[in-house]
Symmetry: C2
Subunit: 396 residues, 2 copies
């Protein structure tokens, strides 16, 4: 009986507070500016990936949510797998001649996102992070998450930030080969576990511009983007890192909202203009602005910070002490359909009528309550997505 070389890992979603928008190298995925994100709790949102290397496999194969996904030669998936095999050879097999030559075996990979694509949450960050984490574990790579983040970055830029928990910066770097364009941890989850997030899933009938094509259109046509890159983001990176280290929620909130606004401003300054926010997104902003205005007037400082990625969904960051009030606020302005809010963290007493409203406004599809979380996790065999044959288990 031969050894089974298999590993399973999960990786988190991250939501940026300083936005990544624009590549200086589209092949290596080198960004035009540094960015910073909060890693969200894998207990609620995660990608899970099982990787197996076996001499009997005839080609590298990947299944995403049970369906085979093509690994295009030279494509992003192929690049990540290739780089991890290269790292296995360089750091393990070349160092220890007795180590099995896993880098020469084909791999089977099964990946699964526990949140529906319809939720409008980008799964590429957690997906590539889980892929890289599971292969790194399979290959027993003696490298840091920052090194792995360089590989994940080549799968999907923001994936590099999902290699760490807590508060994570993606440093743009200066080298043309991308060797210093990587993620570092600004602070771990344990530093500021009180940071909670409420994801407002806003439905949109319009198909938005993909972020990959949209950001390059902005790079090519927006007169404002270069100013953002050179004159605005570097200072914001310093200021928000400091705010995180000092747990200064006021500064964290102000910069988070300003940077979300500015990202959407440069998208709008693109030719033709790119819009991701719709009327529901705007209404959520208005509610949060007013909520903070009242709180500031009462001398209580900022209580909430909205941020929007390349779509209409809001992510509202807050401190734990305010989360219940914010959920109630959002639900009162945007009554939710039965079952669209799941009380993940037990904010409400069992049976509380948080979903009781009858009216369901169009354009709102639910709420997800989560919080800052940890980095990729190594999972046990019982969580593996590949069965004995090296093909995906049937998911019930």
């Amino acid at each position: 009986m031969s050894t089974v070389y298999q590993a399973t890992a999960s990786a988190p979603v991250n939501i940026a507070v300083i936005k990544y928008w624009g590549k200086r190298d589209t092949k290596l995925i080198l960004p035009t500016n540094s960015s910073l994100s909060v890693t969200l709790d894998q207990d609620h949102l995660r990608s899970t990936t099982t990787s197996r290397a076996d001499p009997s496999f005839v080609k590298d194969t990947l299944w995403l949510n049970g369906k085979e996904d093509e690994i295009k030669p030279g494509g992003r998936l192929a690049t990540c797998i290739f780089e991890l095999k290269r790292l296995r050879q360089a750091t393990v097999e070349n160092e220890d001649p007795t180590a099995p030559k896993l880098s020469t075996y084909k791999v089977h990979i099964a990946s699964y996102n526990n949140f529906p694509t319809a939720a409008g949450l980008a799964s590429s960050a957690s997906g590539f992070a889980a892929l890289v984490a599971s292969l790194a574990q399979l290959y027993a790579l003696p490298v840091s998450p920052s090194t792995l983040s360089i590989i994940a970055r080549q799968g999907s830029g923001s994936a590099c930030r999902s290699l760490y928990g807590g508060f994570v910066a993606w440093q743009e770097g200066v080298h043309p080969d991308g060797s210093d364009s990587l993620a570092i941890q600004v602070a771990p989850q344990s530093h500021w576990p009180e940071i909670h997030a409420l994801i407002c899933v806003v439905s949109d009938d319009k198909k938005g511009t993909s972020s990959t094509s949209g950001m390059q259109l902005t790079v090519e046509t927006s007169p404002l983007l270069q100013h953002r890159i050179k004159a605005v983001v570097p200072q914001r990176m310093k200021d928000i890192s400091k705010a995180i280290l000092e747990k200064d929620f006021d500064t964290f909130a102000r910069i988070t909202m300003a940077d979300s606004n500015q990202f959407h401003a440069v998208a709008l300054d693109t030719e033709p203009p790119i819009f991701y926010l719709n009327d529901v997104s705007r209404a959520i902003i208005a509610v949060i602005v007013e909520y903070n205005r009242l709180s500031l007037a009462n001398g209580q400082g900022y209580k909430a910070a909205y941020t929007y990625d390349a779509g209409p969904n809001a992510v509202i960051y807050t401190e734990e002490k305010n989360i219940k009030e914010i959920i109630q606020l959002i639900v009162s302005f945007f009554p939710q359909k039965e079952g669209t809010f799941k009380d993940n963290l037990g904010v409400f007493a069992q049976g509380a009528e948080v979903n009781a409203q009858a009216a369901v406004p169009p354009g709102f599809n639910g709420l997800i309550h989560t919080r800052v979380g940890d980095g990729p996790r190594a999972l046990g065999e019982e969580e593996a997505l590949l069965g004995p044959e090296g093909t995906p288990k049937t998911l019930e």
Copy 2:
């Protein structure tokens, strides 16, 4: 029987293609950047003002649409009236001792806009331009429209551009006293009369931020605005002036749309962010972008340019040859209520069913077809808004 000193003038609306957003002096209304607009035809949209000076009047009094409006001491109306009286004295009475001392008389002023406030069109530009034009006519001021524009500017910034017909630049100027912050005519209406405009009146349930307070919030908080002012607008002013002189619609359209987008981008980059475009505005942009894309693909160049001021209404500039197609395009995407499109310029054969659609989407309140027009007009006694007693005639 004493002489009646009375004059009536009308003045046009103008819609900017390079946007004015931000003051460097809020009292004198000196802008942070130059701007450029198209004056629209007074046959369709206008303000009309009658001014009378009489020794029997006890105070300066103004009626707007039949209702008395307070002239606050030191306010914008008072400033305009004061400056015009001063100019009467300096340029007429001091030069010719026999000229009646109208500058010492109180004035009665009646003003009327022929478009409802509900149309969401700013009436302050045409209103202040008509006020200044009628008083300048009453006082027989021997000065140019550019000189008058300096006074109109102190009533409402963009009013200065309504002192000329055709294509009008508001030069920001450099003097702290505002003496060189004035309007000049880039080209008269007769240079490019084929420029037509379709105003899409979009209803909005949200009360938007006023442009007066909004623009100063942008000046104070937007990191992108300064870059727009210094690095973007000056070149666009040159390029669009050249495009107008060369009747180069492609360049005119590209810059017009880019500058509208950038104005809304800096509004969004404001803290808290300012949104003027709603989902209907966005949908109109998408229609025009696609319409131009198809036209460009057919080698026909740009056919239409959208622009949005501080509200959700679109103004679509086009050349006369394309206006019928554009009206049909807009009506097909946004079916109009009966009577909300008035065929001002006889584009459609009498009885044509342009309004036939039954469905009326929410958020759309009609279309106004107009074109580039002339500057303020002196009107005859039969158009006067003041009756024999010097009070407003009853409007039927």
